[in-house]
C-alpha cells in the first residue's frame, strides 16, 4: 500500500548517506586543491555578475516599496535601516542562494550527470579515484566558502541600490542613509545573514551532486537530473529559510 513512498524514502536515505560520507571525508586525504580552487572560480567568480545585478536591483525595489509605506507615517528617513535589515537578514541570503541554485546546482548536476552516463565516473573509480573525494568534496567546500562571500557582496550592492534611490528620489543625505543602515544592524543579523548561505551552500552543492551522480538514461536523464536539482534545491532553500528564521526569531 505504501509502495509509492519507497522511492522518495530511498532517495532521501541515499542523499543523507552521500552527505554524511562527504562530510566525514572532509579531513581525509587526498585533498584536490586545484579542483577546489577551480570550483571556487566557477561558483564564486562565475556567479558574481548575476549576483551583483540581482542584489543592486533588489535594493532599488526594496527602497522604492518601503519609502512608499514609510511616507504614510512621515518616516522616509528610516529607509536605510529597513533596507539594511531586510537585505542582510532575508533577501540577500535567499536571493543569492536561489541564483546560485539556478546556476550552480544545475551546473553541478549536468556536469556530473554527463560524466555518469558516459562512464567517466566508473572510469575514475577504476583508475583508483574516489568520486566523492575528487568531485563532490571540492564542490561542497567551494560552495560553502563562496556563497557567504557572494551574499555579503549582494547585501552591500543592495544597500548601494537603496542609497541610489534614497539620494536621487527620496531626498535623503548620505549620512542619514548609511548611519541609519549601519546602526540598524546587530551582530545577530550579520550572523543570521552569513549562517543561512552557509547552510544553503551545503544544500545546493549536495543536491546538485546527488542528482548528478544518480543520473540514468543518457542525455534525457541529464536534463531531468538538472531540472530536479534546481527545483529541489530551491524548495529546500525556502523550507530551511522558514525554519532558521523561526529559530532566530525565537531566541
Amino acid at each position: 500500500m505504501l509502495d509509492f513512498l519507497k522511492s522518495p524514502v530511498l532517495a532521501v536515505q541515499e542523499f543523507v548517506f552521500l552527505t554524511a560520507r562527504t562530510i566525514r571525508n572532509l579531513p581525509v586525504r587526498p585533498h584536490y586543491w586545484r579542483d577546489i580552487l577551480m570550483q571556487m572560480d566557477i561558483i564564486g567568480v562565475g556567479s558574481l555578475p548575476i549576483v551583483l545585478l540581482v542584489g543592486f536591483f533588489s535594493g532599488i525595489v526594496m527602497a522604492l516599496q518601503m519609502s512608499r509605506a514609510l511616507q504614510t507615517y512621515g518616516a522616509v528617513s528610516q529607509t536605510g535601516p529597513i533596507v539594511a535589515i531586510t537585505l542582510v537578514r532575508e533577501m540577500g541570503p535567499v536571493l543569492t542562494s536561489v541564483v546560485a541554485a539556478g546556476r550552480n546546482a544545475a551546473g553541478i548536476a549536468s556536469e556530473l550527470g554527463s560524466m555518469k552516463v558516459t562512464e567517466q565516473i566508473d572510469a575514475m573509480r577504476a583508475l583508483g579515484t574516489d568520486p566523492i573525494q575528487k568531485l563532490v568534496k571540492p564542490r561542497l567546500i567551494a560552495t560553502c566558502v563562496m556563497l557567504p562571500c557572494l551574499t555579503a557582496i549582494a547585501d552591500f550592492v543592495g544597500l548601494l541600490g537603496g542609497y541610489f534611490i534614497g539620494i536621487s528620489l527620496l531626498n535623503l543625505t548620505s549620512a542619514e542613509y548609511w548611519t541609519g543602515a549601519y546602526r540598524a544592524l546587530e551582530y545577530d543579523d550579520v550572523a543570521q545573514g552569513l549562517l543561512k548561505p552557509f547552510i544553503y551552500a551545503i544544500v545546493i552543492s549536495m543536491v546538485g551532486c546527488f542528482y548528478g551522480l544518480n543520473t540514468r538514461g543518457g542525455t534525457q536523464g541529464v536534463g531531468l537530473a538538472t531540472t530536479q536539482a534546481v527545483v529541489s534545491s530551491i524548495v529546500w532553500i525556502f523550507a530551511l529559510n522558514a525554519i532558521i528564521t523561526k529559530i532566530f526569531v525565537s531566541f
Binding site: T118, E119, D122, A123, A126, L127, G128, D130
Partner: protein, 271 residues
C-alpha cells in the same frame, strides 16, 4: 581456495538490477598470462561481468576474487591498490572531457598510489604509451577533437600506461568502421604480446576474438602474423559465451567453431 596465480575468479556470481538478474550463477577463472574473449548478444551481461571483475558492481550472491583476494565485500577504498593492477578500456572510451589527452593518459600514473610513478617520469611514460598507439602527436588535444577510433586508441594507451597485470577491453571495436576496428584489434594483440599481460575482451563480433586467437605480434616486422598452435601468445586463450545472463560456453576457438549448440554456431556463422 583460489590459486596463487589466479588473476580473476568468479564463483557462482549473480548480479541483479531491481530484482532482474543481469548475470546469473557465473563461474570461471583466469590465470596469469591467459586471455579470455567474452562473446554475447547485446544485454547478455558481458559488461556487467567486466564491471563486477574490478568491483564497480557488487554481486548479489557468489564471490569474486581479484589477484587472489576476495573483493566481494571489500570496501571501495581498499580495492584501489588492486585496481591499479588492472587497466580498463570502457565501451565509449570514457575519456575525461575536461582533460586533454596527455592529462587523460597521465591520470592513472598520478592518481593510483600503488603505481608510485615519480612526477618527472610521467610525461615520458605518457608519450611512450601514446606513441605505442600511434597518437604521439595528440598530447595537447582534447577528446572532443579526436575521432571515435582515435579516442579508443587513447583509451587503450590509458589502460596500459601503468603496465598493469591484467587489461580489460569492453567492446573495443563497437561502432567503428571495419578498417579502424582491425587497427584497434591489431593494437590489442600488440599490447598482449609485447607486455604479456592477461587480456580480457568483451565483444559482440566473433571476428575480433578470432583475430586474438589466430594472430600474434611480430616484433621484427612490427606487424601481425598468423600464430601457430604452439605459440605462447594464444595458448591460454579461451572464449566465453554469454546468453541472457548465463555463461553457456567456455572453450577454445576450435571448440567454439565445432560446437553444435544452435546459439553458439549461429553466433559463429553470423559473423
Amino acid at each position: 581456495m583460489p590459486n596463487t596465480d589466479s588473476i580473476l575468479r568468479f564463483e557462482k556470481v549473480t548480479v541483479a538490477f531491481g530484482g532482474d538478474p543481469a548475470i546469473e550463477d557465473v563461474s570461471f577463472e583466469i590465470r596469469a598470462g591467459e586471455s579470455r574473449v567474452i562473446l554475447g548478444a547485446a544485454g547478455s551481461g558481458k559488461t556487467v561481468i567486466l564491471k563486477t571483475s574490478v568491483g564497480l558492481l557488487r554481486p548479489d550472491s557468489g564471490r569474486v576474487f581479484l589477484f587472489g583476494q576476495d573483493i566481494t565485500e571489500m570496501k571501495e577504498q581498499d580495492q584501489f591498490d588492486l585496481r591499479a593492477r588492472v587497466g580498463m578500456l570502457f565501451q565509449e572510451s570514457a575519456l575525461f572531457d575536461s582533460l586533454n589527452i596527455e592529462e587523460n593518459v597521465a591520470y592513472p600514473l598520478l592518481n593510483q598510489k600503488a603505481v608510485n610513478c615519480p612526477e618527472d617520469q610521467v610525461h615520458a611514460r605518457v608519450e611512450e604509451a601514446l606513441t605505442f598507439v600511434e597518437l604521439g602527436h595528440t598530447l595537447e588535444k582534447f577528446p572532443s577533437e579526436l575521432s571515435g577510433g582515435m579516442r579508443r586508441r587513447v583509451g587503450i594507451a590509458r589502460a596500459n600506461v601503468t603496465e598493469p597485470a591484467m587489461v580489460i577491453y569492453d567492446s573495443p571495436t563497437a561502432g567503428l568502421d571495419p578498417i579502424t576496428a582491425n587497427n584497434i584489434m591489431a593494437l590489442i594483440v600488440k599490447e598482449r604480446d609485447v607486455r604479456h599481460a592477461t587480456t580480457v575482451m568483451v565483444t559482440q563480433r566473433f571476428q575480433d576474438g578470432a583475430i586474438m586467437a589466430r594472430y600474434k605480434y611480430d616484433r621484427a616486422t612490427e606487424t601481425l602474423v598468423a600464430a601457430t598452435p604452439g605459440d605462447a601468445s594464444i595458448a591460454g586463450l579461451k572464449f566465453l559465451v554469454m546468453k541472457q545472463g548465463r555463461l553457456v560456453f567456455e572453450g577454445t576457438l576450435a571448440e567454439m567453431e565445432q560446437s553444435k549448440d544452435p546459439y553458439i554456431s549461429k553466433f559463429v556463422l553470423r559473423n
